[in-house]
């Protein structure tokens, strides 16, 4: 036998369920609209999470400091002679020249990012292979080899073939053999990427042997990054010095700003929904008012009526929350957030496409819950309380 208090709550819950069922059309329509709002809010939240975590995964292996030569406010090739100058700064672990450029494939109307560096000289070259779905990065002893992103593989039709060719500036062809493909986790930045040897990149772009596009600097003590960056800026005043944290912040700011803007629009929709729910609930139908009056006169306390309303709202909003969040996850995970991607990713949606891995944290779910379920509960329970505290004498008139 259950305690009276628990039995009472079960009775009230049972009554709430039958009450929901009695007004199923009204409750179903509210639940679906609510689920749609949560779906949009959840999609933005999960999409932001997916983009941010993808960016973080990729940026994990970026150099601690990157320097680029600037002239008239624009970037130009940097002489390798700068490496010798940098060796005078205490705390620098390694300086690695890099070529970073873009290649426009006219036949497929796609832009590829070309990245070339001496991977063997990098302090953590073994970790880099973790970003690959299969294969290995080009070795210095393997000229004419490349690692490609998943989209490059699709666009160039390399699922069966292992070689492809790109045009040099003089329109002669240079051939590459695919030795590895990037994994989906790094799609955000590696999807359109082709990684090759420095020698091959210089050959492809026609860059002199003594030049690179930028220099990657790794430091011994991560706490000294900012100090070393300042020393470099003083030593090489014609360069732009970028730290890893600055690049990470740029990505975060871009996605958070877009997410914030979208969230403002969505919160407006949510507020409109809350006002609608409030209006519906405070303007209780004559049937609902009569029902509250009957229950009160039959000995139901105000708290009992509020408990019914609370359970009804909780069940509707919990169901809407589960449906909305599940739909948002499916939307982001299986449909690539196709409804919202253009808003969040900007120009990068044009070409080539990339696959999203949704990132859902407890904090995200709590945030969505706080901004959706709690206002709904307030918007429905408070007006019911106002109605339930009025003496039910209208029923006997």
């Amino acid at each position: 036998m259950l305690p009276k208090g628990l039995e009472k709550q079960l009775n009230i819950l049972d009554f709430s369920l039958t009450s929901l069922w009695r007004r199923k059309l009204k409750n179903l329509s509210i639940m679906l609209v609510f689920a749609l709002v949560i779906f949009l809010l959840g999609s933005f939240q999960m999409l932001t999470g997916a983009l941010t975590s993808s960016a973080e995964a990729v940026l994990e292996n970026t150099p601690e400091i990157t320097i680029q030569k600037m002239s008239a406010g624009r970037q130009e090739a940097i002489p390798l002679a700068y490496i010798e100058k940098l060796r005078s700064i205490y705390g620098i672990r390694a300086v690695i020249p890099r070529i970073w450029g873009y290649y426009f494939d006219e036949s497929n109307l796609a832009n590829f990012t070309i990245l070339a560096l001496e991977l063997g000289s990098m302090p953590f070259d073994s970790n880099l292979n973790l970003t690959l779905a299969h294969g290995h990065f080009p070795k210095k002893t393997e000229p004419g080899t490349a690692v490609i992103g998943r989209s490059v593989q699709d666009i160039l039709g390399l699922d069966k073939r292992r070689t492809f060719s790109l045009f040099r500036p003089d329109l002669s062809l240079k051939s590459f053999k695919v030795v590895g493909v990037f994994s989906q986790q790094t799609d955000l930045l590696s999807n359109d990427l082709i990684v090759m040897n420095l020698t091959d990149a210089r050959d492809l772009f026609g860059i002199p042997v003594s030049m690179a596009t930028d220099l990657c600097i790794y430091v011994a003590n991560p706490t000294e990054i900012e100090t070393i960056a300042k020393k470099i800026a003083v030593l090489l005043p014609d360069t732009r010095v970028l730290t890893k944290s600055q690049i990470q912040k740029t990505y975060q700011v871009v996605f958070s700003w877009r997410s914030g803007l979208a969230s403002i629009c969505l919160l407006t929709a949510l507020v409109a929904f809350a006002i609608l729910a409030w209006d519906k609930a405070s303007g209780l139908s004559p049937e609902e008012k009569r029902e509250i009056g009957i229950l009160k006169i039959l000995g139901w306390e105000t708290g009992d009526i509020l408990a019914v309303r609370f359970w009804e709202s909780t069940l509707v909003s919990a169901l809407a929350f589960i449906i909305g969040c599940t739909a948002a996850y499916i939307h982001v995970a299986f449909f690539d957030a196709s409804l919202l991607k253009a808003v969040m990713v900007g120009w990068s949606v044009i070409h080539p496409p990339f696959k999203l891995l949704p990132s859902v944290t407890l904090a995200d779910l709590l945030l969505i819950f706080t901004f959706s379920v709690l206002p709904f509960l307030g918007a429905t329970v408070i007006p019911a309380w106002r109605c339930a505290t009025v003496p039910p004498d209208s029923v006997i008139r």
């Binding site: 036998m1 259950l2 305690p3 009276k4 208090g5 628990l6 039995e7 009472k8 009775n11 009230i12 049972d14 009554f15 039958t18 009695r22 009569r290 029902e291 009957i294 229950l295 009160k296 006169i297 039959l298 000995g299 139901w300 306390e301 105000t302 009992d304 505290t389 003496p391 039910p392 004498d393 029923v395 006997i396 008139r397």
Partner: protein, 225 residues
């Protein structure tokens, strides 16, 4: 005395422009195990008197003692609990929840008492049997006849075994045969120890031999002939 009103006044919207005095210093005593008929024209204060006896709200001034409890200044929560334990209501419009089953309508007063579904059903089925409507147990209350609705309303008023039954114009929507049946049920309930107060214009009620006392209300005052 089971019910005792002493100089009871009820003012609606007190201090506002639309202030209305519904009862003016009413004095009333009703003994237990009696059947009383409350008569009065529309707007005479009959419903207000019934609401005070039914512990729906306390009087504005004066004393109102119902089943041993003083209602004056009693907080709403205690008023509700007292009403639940002592008063059973039968309404003119029956006031059933039309989409709820007959059984569920009857057991409504038991839900906040924490009584298990099995016990609720047992109590309700016993009353359904006594009132000869067991065959309608699972019907939605909105889909049964007026006479059956009346019996469901009676069953609901009796489910918690309250000592006082208040009926507001209970025969207004019934034909004479059903009205007679209703009065027979009330007579049986009086015999079983209930106190019954019926507000009605119907002579079939006021002239019924089981009625012990007739109270006339006019302009918020007890009209002594």
């Amino acid at each position: 005395m089971l019910i005792e009103l002493d100089n009871t006044t009820k003012i609606y919207n007190q201090g506002k422009p639309n202030e209305v005095t519904a009862l003016h210093g009413v004095n009333l005593q009703i003994e237990g195990r009696t059947m009383v008929c409350l008569q009065g024209a529309s707007g005479s204060g009959k419903s207000t008197l019934l609401a005070i006896i039914g512990c729906v709200f306390p009087p504005t001034s004066g004393r109102a003692s119902i089943a041993g409890k003083q209602l004056s200044r009693m907080p709403d929560r205690f008023l509700t609990i007292h009403r639940r334990e002592k008063i059973g209501f039968i309404f003119q419009q029956f006031n059933l929840l039309p989409r709820l089953s007959v059984l569920d309508n009857i057991t409504l007063p038991l839900l906040p008492l924490g009584i298990s579904p099995r016990e609720r059903k047992t109590k309700a089925r016993k009353l359904l049997g006594q009132l000869s409507i067991s065959h309608r147990e699972n019907f939605p209350a909105g889909q049964i006849s007026g006479g059956e609705m009346q019996r469901v309303a009676i069953a609901r008023a009796l489910i918690n075994n309250q000592p006082i039954i208040l009926a507001d114009e209970p025969t207004a929507h019934l034909d004479s045969r059903l009205s007679m049946e209703f009065m027979q049920i009330m007579t049986d309930l009086k015999a079983s120890g209930k106190t019954i107060i019926i507000a009605s214009h119907d002579t079939l009620v006021s002239e019924h031999p089981a009625i012990d006392k007739i109270i006339n209300i006019k302009d918020g005052r007890i009209d002594v002939p």
